[in-house]
C-alpha cells in the first residue's frame, strides 16, 4: 500500500467530473470547491466523504484539477492518494465514482471499502 502513496500523492478529477462539479457549485451559488475524505465506518471499514467546501482549515491540502479545487484533510490523504474522481451514468442513475488504487476490496455496494 505504501508504494502507491509515494508514487502519486495527488488526487484528481476526470474532466467530466470537473465539469459537473463546476456546474453544481455555480448553481449552488457558493463554495470553494469539493472535499474528498475518508472515515472509518461501513461494512468494509472505510467510507468516502464527498462534500461541498465552504470553509477550509489551515491543515487541509488543496489540489486543483480542470479548474476545480479539491480539498483533502491530511489524515485522509494516505487512503486517497492517486485517486481519480469520475462522474458516471449507469442507466437512470448518475453520480460520482472513486477510482482509488489503494482499495483492496470494497463492499458490494461500493459505499465503503478496505485498504
Amino acid at each position: 500500500m505504501m508504494e502507491t502513496l509515494t508514487n502519486d500523492m495527488t488526487v484528481t478529477l476526470s474532466e467530466r467530473a470537473a465539469r459537473h462539479i463546476s456546474n453544481f457549485i455555480a448553481k449552488r451559488g457558493k463554495g470553494l470547491g469539493i472535499r474528498l475524505g475518508v472515515r472509518t465506518s461501513g461494512c468494509s471499514g472505510m467510507a468516502y466523504k464527498l462534500e461541498f467546501v465552504d470553509e477550509k482549515t489551515d491543515e487541509d491540502l488543496v489540489f486543483e484539477s480542470f479548474g476545480v479545487k479539491i480539498v483533502v484533510d491530511p489524515k485522509s490523504l494516505p487512503y486517497l492518494a492517486g485517486t481519480e474522481l469520475d462522474f458516471v451514468r449507469e442507466g437512470l442513475n448518475e453520480g460520482f465514482k472513486f477510482n482509488n488504487p489503494n482499495v483492496k476490496d470494497e463492499c458490494g455496494c461500493g459505499e465503503s471499502f478496505n485498504v
Binding site: 467510507a47 461541498f52 442507466g91 442513475n93 459505499e111
Partner: protein, 622 residues
C-alpha cells in the same frame, strides 16, 4: 455499485444510511418526480429522457397496465379503459364530479368515492393514481440507486381532507412513504427559494393544460399561508391550441377535417404555439389525407390577438382573488409562474402589466412544483443541517369548529393551521341542571352553522346537575399528521367523556371548497351582523328565562306595580327578539337587567336570611 452525490459540508451520509427522498407533482394532465442531487433540485427523466409522465392509465384486456405515453396511445382505441385526469375524481362522490355524462367511463354505482368499471374490474381513483405513483416511484429508485425514505406529494391548495387522504392512500398503495403533502403553489414558491426570502405576499399564477389556478400566499415566519385561491377549472393551454387550430381551418378553408387530420392539425397548432415562444413567426405545414396542402405562417402578434380573450379570462380571477384577500396588485411582492402555458410571451406581458412587475420565470414552469416538493422532501428526510429553518407546511384548508347556541360557529382550529395540531376550548351548560350536551362539529369559514358544512354530531351524557354556567366542559380538537380529525368532550369535575372520530367527507367538490372560502370572505360583514344578532338573541332569551324563573319562586318580594313593570319590559324584549335589530335587542337586554337589579339584590338578601334562619353563628361556614 452505488454512485455518490456531493453532500452539504458535514452532511455526508453513513454508508447505506443515505436517506433518499423525492418530490412528486401528481398532476391532472402530467406528473413529475424530482430529487435533490449534489445540492440541486432536479427532475428525474425516464429512459428516453422525458421528465413528464402523462397522468394516464390504461387497463389492458390481457391484464397488463400501461401508464404514460403508451396509455395515451390507447386513449383513442380503448377510451373506456383508459383513464385520463383521474385527479378530478380523487376523494369525490359521483355527484361531485362535473360532466359525468360526457365521459367515456362506466361509473359503478357506489357510495362514497366514485369507482370506474374497467376490463380488469372496478377501480377506485386511489388505485388508478397509485399506478401513476408506482411508475414515478420506480423511476426514482432506479435513478437514485436505492430505496426511498419517503416522498412529498403536491396537491392543489383547495383540496379538502377527503382529497388529501385519497392522495395519501394512493401513495401507500404504490408503496411510497408520504413524508408530507404540500400545497402546489407553496411548492412553487419553495422552488424559487421565496421561503428563505423576505416576508410578504406572493401570487402564484398556474396555467396548466386544462386548468387555471391563482393563489395568494403570505409568507410569515417561514410559513406559507394560502390567503385566497381562485381560478377556472375549464381554462388552460389546450384552449390556446384549439383557438389556433380553428384559425388554421379557417385560413386553409378546410371543411370539417377527418378525425385523423384534426388530430394532426391540433399537433401542428401546438407546435406552432411552442415555436412562437422563442421565434417571431412559425410555419404550419401539413399534407392532409385528401392530399390537400396546408401551408401557413403565423406570427407572434397574430397569435397574441387570436388568444387575447383567453388571456383576459385569467385576469378576472386575478382581480377577484386579490379582492378576496383584501389586497391591491402593488401589495404583491413577487409573482411565480407555473405551468407550460405561462411560457407564452403575451401571457407574461399581461401578468407583468397587471402586477406592475416582471413575474419569476427563470425556472421551468412545468417542473417548478416538483422541484419545490423535492426540496421539501430533502429537508424532511433529514438531509439538511439547518432543519429548524424549515417549518411544517401542511395546513388545514377550512376552519374546524363547533355549533354553539343560536346556530353560531365557534371556530376551534382556524384555517391554515399547520398539521398536526390539537386545540381545546371550554364550554359550559346553558340551563340549570343540564345533564347532557350535544356537539355538532362544523367545517367552514362562515359565522353561521347553516352556511358551513356539518362533519359530525355526538353527545356528552352524565354531566352532574349544576347551575347554568357552572359545568366546565373541555372540548379538544385534534388533527393528526394525516389530516384526520377527532373531537372529544370531557366534563372536568366528573370526568365523563365522549368522543368522535370524523371520517373524511366525500361531499365537497373543489368548486364548493373554493366558493366556501370566497363566500366566507365576501360575507364577512353580513356574517358579523348575523353573529351579533344571534348572540344578542341568546343573551336575551337567557335573561328572560332567568327572570321568569325568579318571578315564579320569589315573585312575592315585589310589589304588584314592580312586577307589572318587569313583565312589560320582558314582553318588549321578547318582541324585539323576533326582529333582526341586534342593537335594539341589546338595549332592551340592558334595560331588563337594570330593571331587575334591585329585585336580584332583594332575592339575594332573602336567600341569605332564609339560609341563616335558626342557625348558630359557629355552624355557619363561609
Amino acid at each position: 455499485m452505488a454512485l455518490l452525490q456531493i453532500a452539504e459540508p458535514g452532511m455526508s451520509a453513513e454508508p447505506h444510511k443515505q436517506r433518499l427522498a423525492a418530490g412528486i407533482d401528481l398532476g391532472t394532465t402530467n406528473s413529475l418526480v424530482a430529487t435533490v442531487r449534489n445540492g440541486i433540485a432536479v427532475c428525474l427523466p425516464d429512459e428516453s429522457g422525458r421528465a413528464m409522465l402523462p397522468s394516464v392509465v390504461h387497463y389492458r384486456l390481457d391484464g397488463g397496465v400501461e401508464v404514460g405515453m403508451p396509455a395515451m396511445r390507447a386513449h383513442t382505441t380503448d377510451p373506456k379503459n383508459t383513464i385520463l385526469s383521474v385527479k378530478r375524481f380523487m376523494g369525490r362522490g359521483l355527484k361531485d364530479v362535473a360532466h359525468v355524462e360526457t365521459m367515456p367511463y362506466d361509473f359503478a354505482d357506489t357510495d362514497g368515492m366514485v369507482r370506474l368499471r374497467t376490463v380488469q374490474g372496478i377501480r377506485s381513483p386511489v388505485e388508478i393514481s397509485a399506478e401513476v405513483l408506482k411508475v414515478l416511484g420506480a423511476r426514482a429508485r432506479a435513478s437514485l440507486g436505492g430505496e426511498l425514505a419517503g416522498v412529498v406529494i403536491t396537491v392543489p391548495a383547495y383540496f379538502d381532507d377527503a382529497q388529501r387522504q385519497a392522495t395519501k392512500d394512493a401513495a401507500r398503495l404504490a408503496g411510497l412513504e408520504v413524508l408530507r403533502l404540500l400545497n402546489e403553489p407553496t411548492a412553487a414558491a419553495v422552488a424559487y427559494g421565496l421561503d428563505n426570502g423576505a416576508e410578504g405576499v406572493y401570487a402564484v399564477y398556474d396555467l396548466g393544460g386544462g386548468t387555471f389556478d391563482l393563489s395568494i400566499l403570505k409568507l410569515s415566519r417561514g410559513i406559507f399561508e394560502v390567503m385566497a385561491t381562485n381560478g377556472d377549472s375549464a381554462l388552460g393551454g389546450d384552449d390556446f391550441d384549439h383557438r389556433l387550430f380553428c384559425w388554421i381551418l379557417d385560413r386553409a378553408n378546410i371543411d370539417p377535417p377527418s378525425s385523423e387530420d384534426a388530430r394532426r392539425l391540433l399537433m401542428k397548432a401546438r407546435e406552432a404555439k411552442e415555436l412562437l415562444t422563442a421565434a417571431d413567426e412559425a410555419p404550419i405545414r401539413l399534407t392532409l389525407s385528401s392530399a390537400e396542402e396546408v401551408n401557413l405562417t403565423i406570427d407572434r402578434e397574430t397569435f397574441a390577438q387570436l388568444t387575447e380573450h383567453l388571456v383576459r379570462k385569467t385576469l378576472a380571477p386575478m382581480r377577484k382573488v386579490l379582492r378576496d384577500a383584501g389586497l391591491a396588485p402593488e401589495d404583491v411582492k413577487g409573482v411565480v409562474m407555473v405551468g407550460g402555458a405561462t411560457r407564452m410571451p403575451h401571457i407574461q406581458r399581461s401578468v407583468a402589466a397587471f402586477f406592475g412587475q416582471e413575474p419569476l420565470t427563470n425556472l421551468d414552469p412545468d417542473k417548478v412544483v416538483a422541484l419545490g416538493a423535492a426540496l421539501q422532501a430533502n429537508v424532511l428526510a433529514g438531509n439538511r443541517k439547518d432543519d429548524d429553518e424549515w417549518l411544517l407546511l401542511d395546513v388545514i384548508p377550512l376552519s374546524l369548529g363547533l355549533e354553539t347556541m343560536g346556530g353560531l360557529v365557534e371556530k376551534v382550529i382556524p384555517r391554515n393551521s399547520t398539521l398536526p395540531i390539537a386545540r381545546a376550548q371550554e364550554f359550559t351548560t346553558y340551563k340549570d341542571g343540564q345533564t347532557a350536551m350535544a356537539f355538532h362539529v362544523i367545517q367552514g369559514e362562515r359565522e353561521l352553522v347553516a352556511d358551513c358544512r356539518s362533519l359530525a354530531r355526538f353527545e356528552l351524557r352524565g354531566i352532574p346537575p349544576m347551575a347554568a354556567g357552572a359545568a366546565r366542559i373541555r372540548v379538544a380538537f385534534q388533527v393528526d399528521a394525516d389530516g384526520l380529525l377527532s373531537v372529544s368532550a370531557r366534563e372536568m369535575s366528573s370526568c365523563v367523556e365522549a368522543s368522535v372520530a370524523v371520517k373524511p367527507s366525500y361531499g365537497l367538490s373543489d368548486d364548493e371548497i373554493a366558493s366556501m372560502l370566497k363566500e366566507g370572505m365576501r360575507h364577512a360583514g353580513e356574517d358579523m351582523a348575523a353573529r351579533a344578532l344571534a348572540e344578542q338573541r341568546v343573551e336575551a332569551m337567557r335573561l328572560v328565562e332567568a327572570t321568569a324563573a325568579a318571578l315564579e319562586t320569589d315573585g312575592g318580594l315585589l310589589s304588584a306595580g314592580e312586577r307589572k313593570s318587569i313583565e312589560a319590559t320582558m314582553a318588549a324584549l321578547r318582541k324585539l327578539c323576533a326582529g333582526s335589530d341586534h342593537r335594539a335587542i341589546k338595549q332592551a337586554v340592558t334595560a331588563l337587567s337594570r330593571e331587575t337589579d334591585d329585585f336580584a339584590a332583594r332575592r339575594m338578601d332573602h336567600g341569605i336570611r332564609t339560609a341563616l334562619a335558626g342557625q348558630k353563628v359557629d355552624e355557619i361556614q363561609i
